[in-house]
Subunit: 488 residues, 2 copies
């Protein structure tokens, strides 16, 4: 599919040039030649972290060697389970630890003796527990890491996903690479966010779930993503900063280099209290964070969903020149609703020039309301060409920077009357010309059969290269932030 | 299922007593003995409004006689299609018109001659078109209605759904009756809203889609629903008022009698402009509407979804004494997020007393974060009894008015690890004691298989009597409005 170059791509190419022969310092983390997974059970009936991490590496097509390690021995998908790190016959670059916290210090010492460069501690039960034992263990682990030079990812996190090398922590992550770098202090957010984004057509350069950030911290990772030539958009979920001053500097540089979208967790009293139990984070004041994010030129969002709502626009759309939106789809009530929602987000829904309205009127395509202006209420009379014609007419207007095509479910009295497939046909035919100015909203999904259908339609339209949203409000909010970023 | 009596039910019973022998004036609209559907095509391959309305009546089990009428004759599901209203051998109480607008005046005259009491004009192409022809036709139709005494529903609307008599305008509406009266100026909203609410366990006394409101208007219907003993909660979607002064009076009386939830469309300049094309409404100023809704004691919402988010609480929950919320489910990041979302809506997430926290700690049930306080991060270790124990412990606290149990999808690296079914088991066991203080949030649904699963889980939990929400933010917003209504 031919695509107009977006701002994110231009910036990325510039960065690419500057960094021509330079690999960012932490790049070795994402490209180990061999990985050992510690804490692997030989019992296939057991739901065991070590087994899951090993299977994920195999399924993700990890390009190096994989060594499962577990005291019980046995094998896993044809791989021998070694009784210890020391017993592995070759060198080991990276260790994924799924052992209980109390065994982590010994594992680190064994790994150091083996020449391991870095370790991901999936293992939890450290400072986030708020208990003395956990605090002491975390201190001990950090001390050993500093003494031996092993860098730590975590503890208490999912670790690294890098499709280009085959590192992965979830069976459902795609093997295909993309341009988004996602840094998440929460393991749950890193899993769900990546899956949600994937279903909507976003692909990743790297996903980093980093938990307690005891050694490598948010600034280290962010610095890496800012320099990484494979990353052109950065998304961050963060609860607290280990070093506020350094983070401020790094955020500034990252936001200058690439679009930077930040979801800050623990912005309220109750959320902050919870974050200290979750990742032992000191969250800091909400207003300080909000002004910091604004000051560095990053975009603040309030949820994982909103994070990828915004990322999707940077990934899929051309930079806009205005806040002008056109809305087109079936339904009078939904046209009123859409207009209200977009207006409340500060977007403009300009009337079309009289000659365009007249041109639209020639095809008597509306249903009840006969709305031949913006928003346009299209009733297709069974013809995708008619929908195509309306869309093309609207997009012939240079003043329109965003066309929102909406496809409704469950707003007609019989399923046979559903017009969605005609919209899909029209969008598919037009995609080369319009996908970078058009977003699609799939709304009013109530019945179970419509939920299946909406999931299918989302996939089809995302594959055609459109940014897809499940509601007007999510599309409107994201567009407003995207326009604001481009000073519209 | 045994249920504690809610405020809405108490009020409804009081109204019931007062209105013991009194049927509200418009009741005959909803209980016709015979219905003629005009504009029925004999061709079964054609998607024809008249056929759809006739089939819906048959499928909904309409208890009176059904007479399809169409110039072409033929038959439909064993019913003879009469060439005209005059040709019907028996009396006709109610006519559903699907004929083109230009034939509506003649249909009205024919119906008057037949002794018809009321007509629903699905037919559009009247004043909402903004064209002279439409305006003139609408005036003519109103004149004939006034002269003949026939009352009009519409034009440009879906008409009436009344499960107790079998009137229906959608094949997917349930035959079961409930306590919610829903009045909608938009046909699309009336269809989608009813289906969405139905999927979430709400049942209706009446749904009225009323379009242009040329004869019977919003005040007439609202007055009816306020008096209707079968309706204990009223939900309204309105674009404009035909008679502002009277509407103000009726809204006041309705809000005094029953919880009244209002979604006003066309609150912005762009939405208002669209509404005038949709239902020929003059929407009026947003601030006037907002203060009017507040003044009469009704609840304003911003979408169909939010409307039923709030209705669900009136239908399912006991009146609260406070804004105190407890949150329980799997995930540290999601616990932080939930706490932030509920706090931003002005709800309180109190810490549990130390002895309760200690009691929870005894079962080491958390995952990473070991959060033994509010919000509680539950990792079940495969036991629904553990979840049940945690929930029961929380609800033993009198200070907690709302327990939000959240079930996450796509936040674990393998689907086999999904714990949702254990939550469902626990909720099912506890439902008699807790359903009226507990809402369920099904969140983080990304993968197609999770969308199917979430739809199934929603149905199961709604059937068990719980109010179910698809996101923290929707649950929090509805709970805040529900608490505010009860002066908490």
């Amino acid at each position: 599919m031919k695509r107009v170059t977006s701002m994110a791509q231009v910036i990325s190419k510039m960065a690419d040039k500057n960094l021509h022969h330079h690999k960012p310092a932490l790049d070795y983390l994402f490209h180990p030649e061999s990985v050992a997974v510690a804490g692997v059970s030989g019992d296939p009936t057991k739901l065991n972290g070590g087994r899951i991490f090993t299977e994920n590496l195999i399924n993700a097509g990890f390009q190096g060697k994989i060594y499962p390690v577990g005291a019980g021995g046995g094998d896993l998908r044809g791989l021998k389970i070694y009784p210890s790190i020391a017993a592995i016959p070759d060198k080991v670059d990276f260790v994924i630890s799924s052992v209980p916290a109390k065994y982590a210090p010994q594992l680190l010492r064994d790994s150091a003796a083996k020449g391991v460069k870095a370790m991901h501690l999936f293992t939890a039960g450290f400072s986030e527990s708020g208990e003395d034992e956990g605090n002491e263990l975390e201190s001990e682990v950090i001390d050993i890491a500093r003494q031996t030079g092993i860098r730590l990812v975590g503890p208490n996190c999912m670790g690294l996903y890098c499709p280009s090398s085959g590192l992965s922590f979830c069976a459902d992550f795609p093997q295909e690479s993309g341009s988004v770098g996602f840094l998440s202090q929460s393991g749950g957010h890193s899993l769900y966010g990546t899956l949600e984004a994937t279903a909507r057509g976003i692909r990743f350069s790297k996903v980093i779930s980093y938990g307690n950030a005891s050694d490598l911290n948010e600034s280290d990772y962010l610095e890496y993503l800012a320099e990484d030539p494979d990353t052109s958009i950065i998304a961050v979920y963060i609860e607290g900063a280990k070093d506020g001053h350094r983070l401020m500097e790094v955020l500034k540089r990252a936001a200058q280099a690439k679009p930077l979208i930040i979801f800050k967790g623990g912005t309220t009293e109750y959320g902050s209290r919870t974050a200290s139990s979750h990742t032992a984070s000191i969250t800091g004041s909400d207003s300080v964070w909000s002004s910091l994010i604004k000051q560095v030129g990053a975009i603040q969002v309030d949820s994982t969903e909103e994070m990828f709502d915004v990322v999707l626009l940077f990934d899929h759309m051309s930079p806009p020149k205005s806040r002008n939106v056109a809305l087109a789809g079936l339904g009078g009530g939904f046209s009123v609703y859409a207009a209200d929602v977009f207006a409340k987000e500060g977007l403009t829904i300009p009337l079309f020039p009289p000659e365009v309205s007249e041109q639209l009127k020639k095809n008597d395509f509306t249903s009840a309301g006969k709305i031949f202006n913006n928003p346009v209420d299209i009733f297709s009379h069974g013809s995708s060409q008619l929908i195509q014609h309306v869309i093309a007419t609207i997009l012939s207007l240079d003043q329109i920077d965003f066309l929102v095509v909406h496809i409704a479910f469950d707003t007609l009295p019989v399923p046979e009357a559903w017009e969605g497939h005609l919209y899909i046909e029209a969008l598919n035919k037009l995609r080369e010309e319009i996908s970078r100015r058009t977003v699609v909203v799939l709304h009013t999904v109530a019945l179970p059969r419509s939920k299946n259908l909406a999931a299918e339609v989302q996939e089809t339209i995302a594959k055609a290269g459109y940014a897809v949203y499940p509601s007007f409000s999510r599309a409107a909010r994201a567009i407003a932030k995207f326009a604001q970023y481009h000073r519209c």
